[in-house]
């Protein structure tokens, strides 16, 4: 089915808050075989809410609306929808009761009854949840209204919207999709290598730079299930061949999760010694649930003093070569593995900026050290961009360095 997503909230159009709910909905709807025609972000503006919703109802098969269902005075979605679709605002006593049950003392005073007045015909998506979310079917088109709070919206979308849409109507295209995640090849090179594949029937290729990575999507749309499978397999082979070892994983994989799988398979433990990244590598790794089976932790050696105290780096080494040097990167990785007895240690030391650069070592100068199999090496990198980008690139490159050493093992 083809749908539109409408996100509502003044905080979104003033750029105060990044809209994470629409991409989340798009990703999961797309993976479930639906197609998104357009996504709109508008303010808590009743006439515009009505206009955008009515236009969407004319051209797509379903609509997902998020935001503006809360209890504060700037939440206006329910009123706007009641007005636009001519559906009397109606008090849902069950909803009100549930909201009151979930209150904590601090909220007693506020105007929560507002959240229980819904457009007539609203069907509550989850009878047990505090924050309702509802379905309204208008001229046979389902409209799902979800809260704008990301974790509430995610839960309702996955557990209530997707199952209902799946059962809505049959007989659509068979969609096969895969995302190929790469690190180390420029987008234009990948595009050039995949041009021939793009010309094949029913095959769609997309190119998406995501921070320092490039993701490639393969989508095959076919009426016939067997034809979809065959075209998909053939294209998959070509893509894997073209991407080579820049391809680190697919779909839900992250650089950190792939590193984890390799470590787990080899029964090895990893440690990190971070200077300019200040904990980003550890953060990225521990986002992976279960990472404690292959990641021990490490040291955030941001100051020279902590490099000395926690990693036994010689003061003379720091003085003679500087904290940002091959020698110090090597010592950081080697000493950490010695101290912790971990199989692999990766270290980073660099100048993320905006200050701290010099002619000899400009902003973006980063050494990444790695200890593995009782050998330790370090490599010099020159990264570009602002502080955030240099730290991000350093983090990805450190994880990729671990991945490559495990692959070569």
């Amino acid at each position: 089915m083809i749908g539109e997503i409408i996100a509502i909230g003044d905080e979104l159009i003033s750029g105060r808050t990044e809209n994470t709910t629409s991409p989340f909905a798009a990703r999961h709807l797309f993976a479930a075989g639906h197609e998104i025609y357009a996504m709109h972000t508008i303010g808590d503006n009743p006439p515009l809410i009505g206009e955008v919703l009515k236009r969407a109802l004319k051209r797509v098969d379903f609509v997902v609306v998020t935001g503006g269902l809360g209890s504060t005075t700037d939440d206006l979605t329910n009123e706007a929808v009641a007005e636009a679709l001519d559906r009397e605002p109606t008090l849902y006593p069950e909803v009100l009761k549930r909201i009151r049950e979930h209150l904590d003392a601090s909220q007693q005073a506020s105007n929560l009854e507002k959240m229980a007045w819904l457009p007539q015909g609203a069907e509550i998506l989850n009878e047990k949840a505090k924050m309702a979310g509802y379905l309204l079917v208008h001229n046979k088109v389902p409209i799902f209204f979800l809260p704008g709070v990301p974790y509430q919206m995610r839960e309702l979308l996955l557990e209530h919207v997707l199952p209902r849409l799946a059962g809505w109507s049959g007989n659509h295209h068979r969609v096969r999709q895969r995302i190929y995640k790469t690190f180390g090849l420029p987008e234009s090179v990948i595009n050039q290598r995949l041009l021939a594949l793009e010309r094949r029937d029913s095959v769609h290729i997309g190119y998406y730079p995501v921070n320092c990575e490039v993701h490639v999507s393969l989508t095959v749309l076919e009426k016939n299930s067997q034809a979809a499978e065959e075209k998909f397999s053939a294209a998959d082979l070509v893509i894997r061949d073209v991407l080579g070892d820049a391809l680190y994983g697919t779909d839900q994989d992250t650089l950190a999760s792939v590193v984890g799988e390799l470590l787990l398979a080899k029964g090895k433990m990893l440690c990190v010694a971070e200077s300019c990244t200040g904990g980003m590598i550890g953060k990225r790794i521990t986002e992976v649930a279960g990472s404690s089976t292959w990641f021990a932790g490490g040291v955030i050696a941001y100051s020279n003093h902590l490099k000395e105290i926690l990693l036994d780096i010689d003061r003379d080494l720091l003085k003679n070569y500087g904290a940002v040097s091959e020698q110090v990167a090597i010592a950081m990785a080697a000493r950490l593995s010695e101290r912790t007895n971990s199989d692999i240690s990766v270290s980073v030391t660099g100048i993320a900026g905006p200050g701290g650069g010099s002619d000899e070592k400009p902003v973006g100068t980063v050494y990444i050290g790695i200890f593995s199999n009782n050998r330790v090496t370090a490599r010099l990198h020159h990264f570009s961009g602002d502080r955030a980008r240099i730290r991000e690139t350093t983090t990805c490159t450190a994880l990729d360095t671990v991945r490559r050493i495990l692959l070569a093992d």
Copy 2:
């Protein structure tokens, strides 16, 4: 002026990539006194690009379009605009020359000439940049076309779009705006306390939950500059009074940057001992440029082994009370300050899930320890949500704990 933002790219409507350029543009346009009517995200779909652009041209004073200007085959914005606005695609030899100058060897083969074919009448925004970006004035309405790559788009927006819009026409409302950032009060309580303020003329209040924080925006729109100033000052006083010590900062402040200012003022150094956050607190702190003057680093003590090795935590303590305990949180903070000689250490140990919970210590159980002025304490928290949310809440609470102990000092 009132504008719309249109972001183009299949990667955005499939949810593969989060659209960060539109919120960035909205935030900076808003701060410059403009208002965003709507933001749209659509695929690389020429008829839809034309339709959405033409509708925007009818109802607003300016349009910002991002994405689809690149060299890959799925970049279709220029063709779509040429067609929709009836402007012959025209080769810009200067643009082509500049693109070729910026090439690296790996890109020689690809079809870069494509990027130099622009709709007739296009005016290049930055003659020196590799990635052009251009302005097209259509029926007196300026349309800015910017690349979708975030850092290129940001630069062009700040250095070329905002200045041109500022000079476009005069005589608008005087806008005064401030964002108040809070941690620890529910959104509904803040809303309740500010209801009276909302009713004042020309005063607009917005409420935005951002992860575990609530941000409140105050916007005053007045024709008269002095009236704007007076209303703004009066509202500012009320808001600061209502928010009390939950208010940690304004505008560009972050919890980490505010902690840094307090440490700097007192000449103190901070260290972190992180278990379940795995480096997130250090990451958040070191996002602040110049943080090396008040942050030394610390330990990612993810495994029990590293808690023993790097922080000298007694094996018996870990065995008797468990790693997630008041005793261990206290020992982590105290030992880290002892070892590193830092004035303040904050420690976290908890169960972020999805696994690892028990009846006694369910997922979300987190202890936060703090050493300061030679006293050490720890507090038990019960956080809810998924792994990502528990880690995020733990990180904010740890930073806020440091902030409050510095304020009480």
